[in-house]
Amino acid sequence: MDSALIPKGVKRCPFGLFLVWIGILQIPFLIGVIAYLVCWGLALNQTYLNNNYPFGLWIAADLGIIALGGGAFFTAFLRYIIKIDELKNIVNFATVIGVMCYAAALGILAVDIGQPLRGWHIFWHANVHSMLTEVAFCISCYFTVLLIEYLPLVLENREINKFGFPRSFAHHLHEAMPAIAAIGVFLSFFHQGSLGGVPSVLYGRPFAYREGFLVWPWTFFLFILSAMACGPCFTILITRITETFAKKQLVKRNVIDILAKISGWLLGGYLVLKIIDTISWGVSLAPSVGAPAGSFYANQPYGWWVLITEVGILGIIPCIILLSTRARQNQPLLILACLLNCAGIFMNRWIMSVQTLAVPVMSFDKFFSYHPNWAEWASTLMWVWLSAIVISISYRYLPIFPQEKELNPL
């Protein structure tokens, strides 16, 4: 049965080894499941979240994961709308990663909210003025889009593809994909942006608050740009990790190089805007509410180093690497740049959500620090393990890498 499902013309590890691998992944995954059950069963007191930190790791992770999952929409955008044809060799994988990122985002929200069974209120009783509503709608719609994009891959499995209907259905889905991708891109632009709006409309929190364009604060656009800059890097990173585990090259280097280059340019653009934004915040917005910018960096661990690390080490350095052709083509450097870039996006999202809450607003507020507890970590990381499982299965049974056969002739 197993060998019948494996795509033709490629080699996969023995089934036993595959089961062992999945089994290993299941252990931390099950710990995550337990964390979920604990949080749902015993309520959120099982976490280190509190009234000062209503948002913690979960929301920061959500923002980060969605930015990383931005690779899916952005690759699709480049492939189907800008029509960079080489990217067809990685767009499938980007989609798989996207599906898991968005599943994770929704899954984490499901444990983050206090009354998960009432989660549908966000749709049914939607407040259209809330950034969170916008996020929820877009994420769920885009998740649907990603599933539709993922569906033909599943249908193209060797065994399923034998049946007439699925084969045909997959074929037509492929035909319609540019349209669907366009919808996805539209949705993504919005929700990446509204995620940026989530902290920045909070005018009671001068650290995150930004003015902006119409209903969208400036961070709305920064978030879109940063997601576009980071998503491809994440796709590259996961591809290289998969290659490492698969012990073979799966995507041609030129494809990766295109992504890396685009990523570099976007990152550069983002950094310029980010620096302008930070400076204008620091010199005009923050002082206007009575607080010099320095007061926001007065409490450790959220000192100035945070800003320096985020923009400098995790921003400018990868940007330089990605923009320089020579550095980019040095594989370890490329990996490093991707890592730094992804870490940077996580740090940015953490800062925008958690540091925003950490900075005391009332002058007599005490500063409290927050770090997530095991339940938060386990339930968040659970999605990493689940993603690894899904990617493993997808890689094994679905024709995800079109160049695999060519690169690894049997």
Partner: protein, 271 residues
């Protein structure tokens, strides 16, 4: 966000608000307990972690940050500010962000509501509130055996996983309305609607009423305080437009309400 509520022509509107005299406030805490007793607020065996403790009214103890013997302490009771928002923020910070319309700003009364059955606990509103006026039910509230007997039917007990906050004892407004309606009146008199903390305060430091009504004490106190430059609001500069005013003759207290740095350049701290 149903901010449209209450924009009905010809209807008498109120703007309920509070004036708290910090010179009179002794920090005794009666307001906190009265609030807990009035609003069926839950409690647990260990309430020492204030970060997960449930307070609608919280009295902050602040110091001027100076060393012995020039130290001074002031108590600041902090209910929900029932922000009106103004200028470019034409909305209450917490109301506009709620994704499920579980909270609204009633333009007829100026009260910011919270509906526990609607709330699904995303806590976005808590992130939006710079005053920490909103608290989350980290636990399922429970009462020791026999103690449910004192629960008031006027205030619906909350369940775990939802956000709650001071409501200016709006159930007392509902009761007052009942009374005025049954007497064929529409107007609510000042003494007919007072919050539990106002009533309990042994120092008489809290005054509650319609800020718009020149007959009401709060209106007079605000006017007088503004004239004497002793009235202020918390975080005025953010533009939240709170409806809770404070009065203090102490300079450092006035400053602590809005700026980040205290007199000597040292931060004013929570004692």
């Amino acid at each position: 966000m149903k901010e449209e509520h209450g924009h009905r022509p010809g209807k008498k509107t109120y703007k309920y608000g509070m004036v708290i005299d910090l010179d009179k406030c002794t920090g005794c805490g009666a307001c906190m307990v009265a609030c807990m007793a009035e609003n069926n607020i839950s409690f647990r065996k260990d309430e020492t972690n204030k970060l997960v403790s449930n307070f609608w009214m919280r009295v902050y103890k602040i110091t001027n940050g100076r060393s012995f013997p020039d130290t001074d302490v002031c108590y600041i009771p902090r209910p929900c500010m029932h922000c009106e928002g103004h200028g470019h923020h034409h909305h209450t910070p917490c109301v506009s962000v709620c994704p499920a319309c579980a909270t609204d700003y009633d333009h007829e009364t100026g009260i910011v509501s919270q509906i526990y059955t609607r709330c699904f606990g995303c806590r976005y509103c808590m992130a939006a509130c710079p005053y920490h006026a909103r608290v989350f039910n980290w636990w399922d509230p429970s009462w020791p055996k026999g103690m449910e007997k004192y629960l008031s039917p006027d205030v619906s007990p909350r369940m775990r996983g939802v956000v709650e906050k001071c409501t200016f004892c709006h159930h007392r407004l509902q009761r007052a309305r009942n009374k005025t309606y049954s007497e064929g009146r529409r107007e609510i008199r000042e003494d007919e609607y007072q919050t539990a903390c106002t009533q309990a305060c042994p120092a008489g430091a809290i005054t509650f009423g319609d800020l718009k009504n020149p007959e009401h004490k709060v209106h007079k106190l605000v006017e007088e305080g503004k004239k004497k430059k002793i009235a202020f609001r918390l975080l005025e500069k953010l533009g939240t437009n709170p409806k809770v005013y404070y009065v203090s003759t102490k300079d450092w207290v006035q400053k602590a309400a809005d700026v980040y740095l205290g007199e000597e350049g040292k931060p004013v701290t929570h004692a």
